[in-house]
């Protein structure tokens, strides 16, 4: 099962390596990991996507909680939550493809944030599935490069992760 684990960690040097080291040492899987400071700069928030059985996910959250720098851990996927990922995609945009790519970008609520005679950079956000779907919606041969952030997630309504 795919799980989205969200955690608050002291924004200290080496904090990321403690988390990533835990995953590699215990052979847990990481699909994606994003991290950045929160509105309180002494804290960072991480979103980790991992795939594993219930037992493994339980161990992962327990082991994460055991890290001294980790303040709080929740498994977002246990209940209502929202996921978003950002993708930048550079495509070859010439001739009739130019119009088609613009149209597809609009349909996916993307934005063209850079344009040259022959290329576009399209910015897309959404759940990961939507970004995957964009690949299928355009001619893959036009893709020059893509970069994705991995998802960040937040609980719905009253589900709040705060110190």
């Amino acid at each position: 099962m795919r799980h989205v684990i969200s955690l608050l960690i002291e924004n200290e040097a080496g904090a990321l390596s403690r988390v990533s080291g835990l995953f590699s040492a215990r052979a847990y899987n990481i699909e994606s990991l994003t991290v950045a400071p929160t509105e309180d700069p002494s804290l960072s928030r991480m979103t980790i996507v991992s795939i594993g059985s219930e037992d493994i996910i339980e161990q992962i959250t327990k082991q994460l909680n055991k890290l001294i720098d980790v303040v709080k851990v929740v498994d977002l996927s246990e209940a209502g939550h929202i996921e978003r990922e950002l993708m930048l995609i550079k495509v070859r945009a010439t001739g009739k493809d130019r119009e088609e790519l613009k149209r597809m970008s609009d349909i996916f609520r993307g934005r063209i944030i850079d344009a040259t005679d022959s290329t576009y950079v399209i910015e897309l956000t959404g759940a990961s599935g939507k970004l995957d779907a964009f690949f299928d919606a355009i001619d893959r041969a036009l893709i020059l490069e893509t970069v994705r952030t991995g998802i960040c997630g937040i609980g719905r309504g009253d589900r709040i992760l705060k110190v």
Binding site: I9, E10, A13, G14, S17, R18, G21, A25, D55, E58, Q59, K62, Q63, N65, K66, I68, D69, V70, V71, V163
Partner: protein, 569 residues
């Protein structure tokens, strides 16, 4: 008044009432050593290898309830210490390791004797710190001691760059530490405890399974009290020996790979298993699938939530400090009108006595060659069962665990988790320093003892009158045993050729050496050794080279598939 970082380090150690620091100097800790020189409250014990410094600090901690402290230099000092740190980590031993680091400006420059200490040690410490500012030093050391001893204990490393130990600032040692990210649970959940007590009282075939957590949590007295109140059978793990007295009739011996027949059978066949400060280690439960195939109920008390339901699903988890949880259990047992089912319990004991009747710990007492089991039995007699015994890893370790009947906690020290050969001698040094005058024996093998043999020199310098009990079989015995049983008698590299004359070696270091070759001389040698209160006596017992450790649960099999003797093969 402004103090240098080095002065602050020493002041912090004094504030923590540290009496002994085990260490080895080098370039990046020179300021700290200079301050050590100028005072006499903190005594430094100069070892001969950094691994030994950490093991000695570890032995000091295991045999007391104090935090062990080691001090090493950067680079090779740290890498030598890593085995010791990992050993302490696997067994949850409270320890603070102070390491020197190259000056802050040189970090990352591949400077002389630079290693990424925080990176190298990260997977084998409870936590570690790199101190970049002298202003942070005192609070960091305070945190290190707090983390090391609270919650599930463990080693904490503080890496101190050389320039930080030279810079100056005001010294202020915080009285208390609070960390928003670290709040270990103390009291167990009363509702869970109630559930557990009910389940315990309903049991028809109960079994109490006790691990090192009870020793480290200083809860042996309460555990013993509760088990006696209930009249239930009790087994200790390798790490738990001494938590419940081995000479008591409710004790059924150690369980696990080399546990007794009765302990393993009772653990497998019980209907309620009460696990206290134990973690269902693979050497204890054998194949987890086989272990879980029995529909028993499990109560698990542990301070570490991550230990619960890690290897085996449990029915009633209780997270908390084992002593507090046992106190509450005893209180509830004292106030409830419920009593254990006397008839069921008596039937269960009858069954256990039947298993006990197998006499799985018998060995050939008429042998013309010294049997290792005999040496340990005599060691127990000669020391009145009251010595501190450290050990290394191998057959000798198992014989010591099986045949020395530990009645008190913190008397048996071994590297149960990491299984570190070389632990025995240096950890015994730590024990002896913590308990001057007490009998301390190191039961070892000729393979293991040579991994830290240089410490005989430290023992001389610090006048540590240890008794080394070398069970010399000229083999890496435990390796040989596995090769005999599982690798068609192909004894690949397990024979120890060209051994030194250990008695002479001990003498060369300035100690007393003995070689014992006849069973009739065993007791006399041990008596003489322990009568020599001021001498380190190194006893080289030439034992039966092909003796094996039984019973034995084969790796990967269930607890009940035991080989009881060579006749079972």
């Amino acid at each position: 008044m402004l103090l240098t970082g080095a002065e602050i380090v020493i002041r912090c150690l004094q504030e923590e009432k540290v009496e002994h620091v085990f260490g080895y100097p080098g370039g990046s800790v020179l300021y700290i050593y200079d301050e050590l020189f100028k005072q006499d409250k903190v005594r430094h014990v100069l070892v001969r290898h950094e691994q030994a410094a950490v093991h000695a600090a570890d032995g000091y901690a295991r045999s007391t309830d104090k935090v062990g402290v080691a001090l090493v230099t950067s680079g090779p000092g740290v890498t030598n210490a890593v085995t010791g740190i990992a050993t302490a980590y696997m067994d949850s031993i409270p320890m603070v390791v102070l390491s020197g680091q190259v000056p802050t400006a040189a970090i990352g420059m591949d400077a002389f004797q630079e290693v990424d200490t925080v990176g190298i040690t990260r997977p084998c410490v409870k936590h570690n710190f790199l101190v970049k500012n002298v202003e942070d030093l005192a609070a960091t050391i305070k945190k290190a001691f707090y983390l090391a001893r609270s919650g599930r204990p463990g080693p904490v490393l503080v890496d101190i760059p050389k320039d930080v130990s030279a810079q100056k600032c005001e010294f202020h040692y915080p009285k208390a530490i609070s960390m928003r990210s670290y709040n270990p649970v103390v009291k167990g959940h009363t509702g869970q405890i109630k559930k557990a007590v009910n389940l315990m009282l309903e049991a028809k075939r109960p079994m109490v399974y006790v691990g090192g957590g009870v020793v480290l949590g200083d809860a042996a007295d309460r555990l013993t009290k509760m088990v006696k109140m209930l009249g239930y059978p009790c087994t200790n793990t390798l790490m738990g020996l001494g938590a419940y007295p081995a000479t008591d009739k409710q004790f059924v011996g150690m369980l696990g790979m080399h546990g007794t027949y009765e302990a393993n059978m009772a653990t497998h066949n019980c209907d309620v298993l009460i696990a206290v400060g134990a973690r269902f280690d693979d050497r204890v439960i054998g194949d987890p699938n086989d272990f879980c195939s029995v529909p028993r109920k499990i109560i698990h008390i542990d301070i570490d939530p991550a230990s619960i339901s890690k290897r085996v699903r449990v029915d009633v988890p209780i997270v908390g400090n084992v002593g507090d949880v046992l106190d509450e259990m005893i209180r509830q047992l004292e106030t409830t009108a419920e009593r254990p089912d006397a008839q069921a319990l008596s039937d269960w004991w009858q069954q256990i006595e039947e298993w006990r009747g197998k006499k799985c710990m018998e060995y050939d007492r008429n042998s013309a060659i010294i049997k290792p089991q005999f040496v340990i039995e005599k060691l127990w007699e000669v020391t009145g069962g009251d010595a501190f015994v450290t050990s290394d890893v191998g057959q000798h370790q198992m014989w010591a665990a099986q045949y020395y009947k530990f009645d008190k906690p913190r008397r048996w020290l071994n590297s149960g988790g990491l299984g570190t050969m070389g632990f025995g001698l240096p950890s015994a040094m730590g024990v002896q320093l913590a308990h001057p005058g007490a009998p301390v024996a190191c039961v070892t093998g000729e393979g293991s003892v040579q991994m830290c043999i240089q410490e005989l020199s430290t023992c001389k310098q610090f006048r540590l009158p240890l008794k080394v009990v070398l069970l010399n079989n000229s083999y890496l015995g435990m390796v040989r045993q596995w090769q005999e049983l599982f690798h068609g008698n192909r004894f690949s590299e397990s024979y120890m050729d060209a051994l030194p004359d250990f008695a002479k070696l001990a003498e060369a270091y300035g100690h007393v050496g003995m070689t014992i070759e006849k069973p009739g001389d065993v007791e006399g040698a041990l008596k003489e050794a322990f009568e020599r209160k001021n001498d380190l006596v190194f006893m080289n017992f030439k034992i039966d080279p092909t003796e094996n450790v039984y019973p034995m649960v084969q790796g990967g099999k269930g607890l009940t598939s035991m080989i009881l003797s060579s006749e079972d093969l």
